[in-house]
Amino acid sequence: MMAEFAWLAETLMQRTIQMFILIVLPPMFIGIIVKLKAVAAGRKGPPIWQPYLDLARLSRKGVVYSTATGQVFRWAPLLVVASSITAGLIVPMAGFTAPIHFSGDLIVFAYVLALGRLAIILASLDTGSAFEGMGASREASFAALAEPTMFLILVSLGLLGHADPHKFGVEWSLTGTLAQMEMITWAHYGPALLPLSFALFVLILLENSRVPFDDPTTHLELTMIHEVMILDHSGPDLALMEYGAAVKLLVFQSLLGRIIFPHHFESQWADVVTFVIKIGVLSVCVTAVEVGMARLKMNRIPGILLGAFILAALSVVVMLVEMGEFRGLPS
């Protein structure tokens, strides 16, 4: 009885912390990237909690709707936030397991994120503006290259989970894979995990509109991809869009962070601290790329994405090979 209560209390605590991280922390990590970028340039920069102040301001502003837009435009921001948060609930952040886990949840993960992208594309098409249409078409065409890569990454992770699928009774699940990973997994499956991590890092940059694929601070309307799609949103709608983007970045970063450093501590707080450090390190990497490189010419992006696809495919192949080698041996 006591043991069950203890387990319940512990799980409740873990879930609360995970929800807190997922819902409250994303703007702070954006603030960290902005601050790092400013310091790298030699400026003082805004405080790291500035995104919270920006969201507060936006939520108090009024809205302006173009007469060309319809219902899709008004529902899209909610859908974007909902999809980002749902995806985040599937990734085990700072905890052993994720709040949502079931067989096949990694497919749901991929497509819930795609749903968010669909919402933003439809909203930008709804405005009837040539610009936003251009941004939507760019986003869609790059997604056509990025989604297969994402899928292969998830397949590779799912295969890894097959080493011991019975631990949680789930197959093809993010929790199922990541909860079983330990630092030693890298020793055995390193050749598969390394290209996977690179491919995932490229996807982090692409999906979250960072340099070298897109410039989140650009004022050049003809070069924008993500930014141009939210040009028409104002006030609380814009707050939701920005918040949804911040959550999405955190979701991707936590996935990569968990793959690179899968160790799980006994103490919940040690887990949280490690998580924050991992995301901090990844934010520094994102900033380093942002500050060290210029943005790519638009026609070179498919080439890089193809490279990421090849890395992800390589990861799947190596994973299959390794599974063949290790099948039958105690894991």
Binding site: M134, H219, E221, G292, M293
Partner: protein, 514 residues
Amino acid sequence: MIDPFKIFRNAEPLRLSDIPKVTVDVLRARTFDAIQGGARLVSWFGQDLPGRNLVRIFAIVADDPGQRLGVLIAEVPPGSAYRSLALDVPAADRAERELFEQCGIRPEGHPWLKPVRHPVPAAKLEPGRKLGTVPENNIGRDYPFWSLAGDAVHEVGVGPIHAGVIGPGYFRFSCVGERIEHLEIMLGFEHRGAEEMVLNANPARQPVLIESIAGDAAVAYAIAHSQAMESLHGIEVSLHDEALRAFALENERLAYHVGDLGALAGDVAYWPSAAYFGRLRGEFLNTAMDLGGNRQGRYFVRPGGVRRSLAHATKVRLIERFRSASQQISDCLEQMFSSLSVLSRFESSACVRREDALAFGFVGPVARASGVGVDVRIDHPVGFWQRHDAEIALGVEGSVLDRATIRRREIERSLALCLRILESLTDERSAPVRPDFGTSPKRGDFCVSLVESWRGQVMLAYVYDDQGKLVRFKSQDPSFQNWNAMQLANRGNAISDFPVCNKSCNLAYNGHDL
């Protein structure tokens, strides 16, 4: 090649009675022959003569290697027409459209006869009217844009208000996917009526207005104006003041070239260079402030000399600042031009071919990047430039990289020149001469003054009547010729590379729109 014209030098005062007057067809023919012979079309503009019910057309050409300019006049009744010069000389394209818009003289057969500035007087506004609606201005509503037909073609229109902090202009792209097939630029949003205002301005306002035509080239315009006034009124400028003027001009060139490189880096999201050059630009703006109290270099150059003397302590401080800036800029240039990701964005994109640069009469760094070596400091030197040589840097294929490299070379040379000027400057006081311009010009009634601003050749032309009153003021910014470079360079360019091309040319909206 320009012998049939009345030959004169930059800023030399002329008498209108000395300029040969021909019919408009002969004017067109002689201009055409001169261009065929290798001359460059400087200007083709009109002046209304209401008292005589005529329109006077001026054709100004340049023989750059020979350091000579030529002018010829035709006088025609209002509403006349002639065979368009632009059919054979593309460089006359915009000038003929402007002549039609300003004076009503029609160029028959002009391939692109569209409004240049769409000058519409400001409407009287009723308080309490609804914003954003009636009365609507017609600009753009009846502008006949070229349009490409085809299923795969889509059109994107940008402007007049752009996403960044930049001037207003309307760009209409016809694209197939990401590639621009045709770009058409409609300007005129900043038309403030500068030429008319200069005519009616009192002596205090006139130089300020001229500096405001394109405020980022304020020093260049002020020098052009001062040169013309000094010529017409026979005023001498001391060597010391001429050197200070040249210093101010080169300082302005440095401020904007450094700023442009920083902006180019920012446009491709290469933040180190964007940040460093953005800050270094401030050194030159602060130098302008040390010279004349204004960061844009305004109120410093005036007819007769310069308005403020340079104190010895300030001079020493400036020398120190330029030495330190030279070192930092050289390091930053090295970093930017060796960054592979930056170079890959700039190379071979948005090229302007040499043949086009010659045919369309481009000037300034845009022309030099395409291999056309025009520079007023060398071709038509006045004052300081008669005693000192400027070196020219030439590009190869007129790409964004070439335009950036030209700026780099010009920065390096301007820095060296500025240091030389400062180090050899004596501590003489500038006499703030305030000539009385109430009297009519003694030495002529027509003057054309050219200066090489950082964008290229600025031309100011002054025409007086028999009573010595200024009756026509023509201001021609280098952008007037160079906007066609933007339209040409972007054909075949990716639309996402358009901003980089735009920034690499950095043309004036206000200078063009007057």
